[in-house]
Amino acid sequence: MSLRNIGIVYRKELTDSLRDRRTVISMIVVPLIVMPLLSVGALVVFARMVGQAMKEVPAVMILGGEDSPHVRAELERLTDVRIVPTQLDYESEISNKQIRAAVEIPEGFEAKLAAGDPSTVKIYMYENDLKSGFGADRLQGFFRELRDRTVREHLEARNLPQSLVRPFDIEKKNVAPPEKVGGAVLGGLVPYFIILLCMTGAMYPAMDLTAGEKERGTIETILCSPVSRTHLVLGKFLMVLTASIATAALSLLSMAGSFGIAKTLLTGVAPASADSALHISITGKAIVSIFFIVSPLAVFFSAALLATSLFAKSFKEAQSYISPLMVVIVLPAVAALLPGVELSLPLALVPVLNTSLVGKEIITGTYHWGYIALIFGSSCAYAAAAIAIAVKLFQREDVLFRT
């Protein structure tokens, strides 16, 4: 094994790749610009939209209730809704987003309340419309409060204790620190993005250094050199690995920075739920651990992509092989995001899914050392197998000179 020869091939491939626009885009531009824009940008836009919707005083309409003047008067006094004159086509008004919701007060509502007779208040809204939902929530809140007050008044009138209808309270207490709550929401996305970027970072150099060389006719040139084919493929592999790890490292850095920016941008703007999601703090330890656990996967991707691309006669053909492979890689990474998918012994042996799952745990500050060792070990085994296949394929004339 001549490290000198591998080094010469590697240095040349690095110089060559850094001059390739596609490699630079996938290795530097995507993790540093595109991914933060897509992930945090979308989050910021969504949180701002929610924040703005919450700030809006929704226009609502009261239907009926002429015989319940007190309830109407109370509704009109509300400051967090704006009552608009009643119209018959309230449904189309809601659909056209002229008003956010409407409430129908049944006939003789106040009299029924006083007599203790049952009645139903109907709230009309546009399902899945955020602003309509907020309008309906405020109306529902008002009537829930009215219902509770009525119950209290009825109990007082009969000299009965309040505890009759509420004999005990239930209180839920969260023991998870805020960063873990946030981690559960967004933590899964972090390893998912890193795995994805590890793959995309390796993709273009792998195709360029194999199928691209065949297409450009340089494969025969390099095969004329006295360097062994094993050294050649290892030099190329190291370059692909560099691109993969650089992409992953840059994406980690950019994500850490992006979350910081998102937090600043969203402070006081986002609703409480989004705030808790943003309480995700990526610690230095988590970054190092994720990097450690993802590195054999980067080796696996680099070797697997190199071996796959080597089969192709052209860059285009290599793309057609790698695109389905992308789905094979992305699916297990996405599966880790599904609720209920937890680390277990069988899943710890499934490539990609295992790394994604353990990465999610690491982000939330949970370190299952046994699983981490198993996942690292199994990923190393897969990576070694992929390198062996790539080296073997590079010795085959029918692969190198496929026509």
Partner: protein, 243 residues
Amino acid sequence: MIEAQQLVKRFHDKKRGAVCAVDGVSFTCRPGQVYGLLGANGAGKTTTLRILATILAPTEGTAVVAGYDVTKEPRKVRSSVGFLSTATALYGRLSAREMVEYFGRLHGVEETVLQRRIDELFGRLEMNDFRDRRCDKLSTGMKQKVSIARTLVHDPVVMIFDEPTLGLDVMAARTIVRFIRECRDSGKTVIFSTHVMSEAEKLCDRIGIIHGGKLLAEGTLSELRERYGPRDLEDIFVKVVEA
């Protein structure tokens, strides 16, 4: 010196099934001599030369190139050979100098020797005007010069040219022809393949006519004329192939 001994190359083709691209080819090419492998497309020229350059391994037989067996010491063979063909392209994103440097390093040429040799080659081939220009920005003629410098950087004793003038304009082709002559004159062993009869007539000391993977005739031009009759090499070629 090149000694091909009963070279055979078989491979499997999806459409044609089992194919014997080279079938028992034997010949000898001596230092200071240009050996021309003459044949139509698909005759087995490229496969033979790729075996000699150890890019492909023979199925049977062997060849001794510069004293090394192609099947046993392929890396030593490659260290002693300069291989040039239309299929050996340049790395477009490297400059002319980087390209030649890269191959010099791969051949293990010591750094100070390498820089001296590059300066000498670039001067001799008049390449200094474009030494730092990227290869994908060079004209065909310039690219040919870079390829020549690439094959010579490790000062090989054997030169293998596979249809080196294919697709080149007259000026670029002349550069190649001149270069082949220089190699012969400097005592190198030169083998080259072509299907251009005039080129073979002009350059070759010995000619081998290859067809269907078999070497059908071999000798100097005068020997071939004596054996087959016609004066013109093209007529000799047709006569040999049709026989």
